[in-house]
């Protein structure tokens, strides 16, 4: 019962944080520098790992599906499978998981330490709402950076798959027919659905990580505890939301 009320409390607190951050949307042009800094930290610095990871996810996907589709002679559809899976599911989800681990944890750690070392209190007494200065630029930055990362992840995954198909002896589907298969069944909506998912995941991750960071209480040990909590909550939310967002997008 206590846990339940606590969870409701957190959900409510997160939504309130969202409302009180969005309230300051008009100040965004003034916070250009902060926004760009966050774009840099969230997007630009995540580029290498997103590239590497999605490349290998695509490769493994091609390898596995090549192995299993061989059994019923559907090898020519590997491109379709890898393409759609990357665009609709693995691209956005893997980027979101990376962002949760790489950016979400950093956000929580930073805000939690600001809270523990009274920087948040200092901001409050200076009448600078932390939501405006700390949360809003991050939310805006993730909304701008997430689609970029997701598109890059898609393309890297597709090319990873193509390379594996072409150069793995047991598969040997040349990349031309791989991409034809990919294109034949891929609609722009599939890509857009993936981007929408990435957008939702990124936004929720940052929001939750900010909330947990700002609500840290205690000393330095609690900073660590908050980071753990934030990453776990983000991962759970990604997968739970994944189901519902996918369902909503499929039947929208």
């Amino acid at each position: 019962m206590n846990h339940l009320t606590a969870i409701f409390g957190h959900i409510g607190g997160t939504l309130l944080l969202l409302v009180s951050s969005v309230k300051f949307i008009g100040t965004l042009p003034r916070q250009r520098a902060r926004f760009i800094e966050q774009c840099y930290l969230i997007g630009y610095t995540s580029l290498p790992i997103v590239t590497i990871l999605s490349f290998f996810i695509g490769s493994v996907l091609a390898l596995q599906s090549g192995y299993s589709m061989e059994n019923f002679g559907a090898k020519q559809f590997i491109g379709t499978l890898v393409g759609l899976t990357m665009a609709r599911e693995l691209g956005p989800v893997m980027v979101a998981i990376l962002i949760a681990g790489r950016v979400g944890s950093a956000v929580t750690a930073e805000l939690a330490s600001m809270k523990v070392y009274q920087e948040i209190d200092a901001l409050t007494t200076m009448n600078i709402p932390p939501e405006r200065m700390l949360v809003l630029p991050r939310l805006a930055a993730i909304l701008v950076m997430m689609p970029v990362l997701a598109i890059i992840a898609n393309l890297c995954g597709w090319y990873g798959g193509a390379l594996v198909c072409q150069y793995t002896h047991s598969i040997s589907v040349d990349s031309e027919s791989y991409f034809i298969a990919l294109k034949t069944y891929m609609k722009p909506k599939d890509i857009i659905d993936g981007l929408v998912k990435a957008e939702v995941f990124g936004f929720v991750i940052i929001l939750v990580c900010c909330y947990i960071g700002l609500n840290t209480r205690g000393g330095p040990r609690e900073i660590g505890a908050s980071v753990t909590k934030a990453v776990v909550a983000s991962l759970i939310l990604i997968l739970v939301l994944d189901y519902f967002v996918t369902k909503a997008l499929l039947f929208a």
Partner: protein, 330 residues
């Protein structure tokens, strides 16, 4: 980190994302992200058969455009086609929905029409031909059936009345009673086999129980029509054969009216039993066909090839068809 270099990097990064998104959409849409280039034609159908937005429009197997939109109109469905600029489609060209793969992806095939004739212009409607319909096939099969019945009736008449030495049936009767026990065994073996087929084991079973194959067979309807024509000529041949049988000519005649052959059949029935045992055990070609599904897969492969060949045939005319079939099969 210098502030301006950070800004520059973020800007470049974002532009990179935009460019990649643009390229992705561009290549998916066949290069029509913002405004479809080329011109638009309308094709009306009674049934689109699963043709959908983005499917290709092909002329002689070459892509000349794409389905831009499908929509319901009063009493019919319409597909809006975007035809690439520079492709000229004569006014008497005919469009029809075709299957490009056995797994059900469609395209819209357009015939050449009369070269040099008037051309279709933007917004005009292209002539269409309904795709072959299941019900049509069934009605064809129906007429075929009634004709068969007619022929079989004639065969029956000739057998029932019989000539000297009793009717065909009395002779068969004797054959059966003589070989009774052996036949029973063979039949129980056959029952085993049919059970296997029912359960979808082996190639034959798959062939019968696999719904996908059913669809594929549908696609071969045009061949069936050809077969129907063949069947008709076969009927007339059969009539001749029946007459021959009656007069004791040919193998069947000998089989039924000659006593020496009857004794050799006893031996053959024994062989038949052995054979059915073998079949059941999966030996021999027929046995393999029934017990093992590799043949089924091979068969599917051949069908796919055949389909591709037919595809080529539809567009390139009968002269090169043989060459295409040969090329696709081997």
């Amino acid at each position: 980190m210098n502030n301006t270099s950070q800004t520059i990097r973020v800007g470049l990064f974002f532009l990179l994302g935009l460019a990649l998104a643009w390229i992705t959409f561009e290549s998916l849409n066949g290069g029509h992200l913002f405004k479809p280039r080329g011109y638009t034609l309308v094709a009306g159908f009674a049934n689109l058969k699963g043709l959908k937005t983005g499917d290709e429009v092909r002329m002689a197997g070459v892509k000349v455009g794409a389905v831009q939109l499908t929509r319901l109109a009063p009493n019919r469905v319409e597909a809006l086609l975007t035809i690439e600029p520079g492709v000229q489609i004569p006014a008497d060209a005919v469009a029809s929905v075709e299957q490009s793969s056995l797994l059900g992806s469609n395209y819209l095939g357009v015939t050449f029409g009369t070269p040099g004739g008037p051309l279709l212009k933007d917004g005009e409607e292209i002539k269409t031909k309904p795709t072959v319909d299941m019900s049509e096939v069934i009605s064809q099969l129906g007429t075929l059936g009634s004709k068969l019945e007619q022929v079989i009736g004639e065969i029956g008449k000739s057998m029932g009345t019989g000539g000297e030495g009793g009717g065909i049936f009395s002779r068969i009767d004797k054959l059966v009673t003589d070989n009774g026990p052996k036949l029973t065994e063979s039949i129980s073996n056959l029952q085993d086999i049919t059970a296997k087929i029912k359960n979808g084991e082996g190639s034959m079973g798959k062939l019968i129980n696999d719904p996908k194959l059913h669809d594929e067979l549908l696609a071969g309807v045009s061949e069936i029509k050809l077969a129907a024509a063949d069947a008709r000529s076969f009927m007339s041949d059969t009539k001749g054969i029946v007459a021959d049988v009656k007069s004791g000519k040919g193998t069947l005649g000998v089989l039924l009216y000659d006593d020496a052959t009857a004794t050799s059949i006893k031996v053959k029935a024994k062989n038949l039993r052995e054979l059915s045992d073998k079949i059941n055990g999966g030996q021999g070609t027929l046995g393999k066909l029934l017990a093992d599904d590799t043949m089924y897969r091979d068969l599917q492969g051949v069908m796919k090839k055949a389909d591709r060949a037919l595809d080529g045939m539809g567009d390139s005319g009968p002269i090169t068809a043989v060459g295409v079939v040969a090329g696709a099969l081997f």
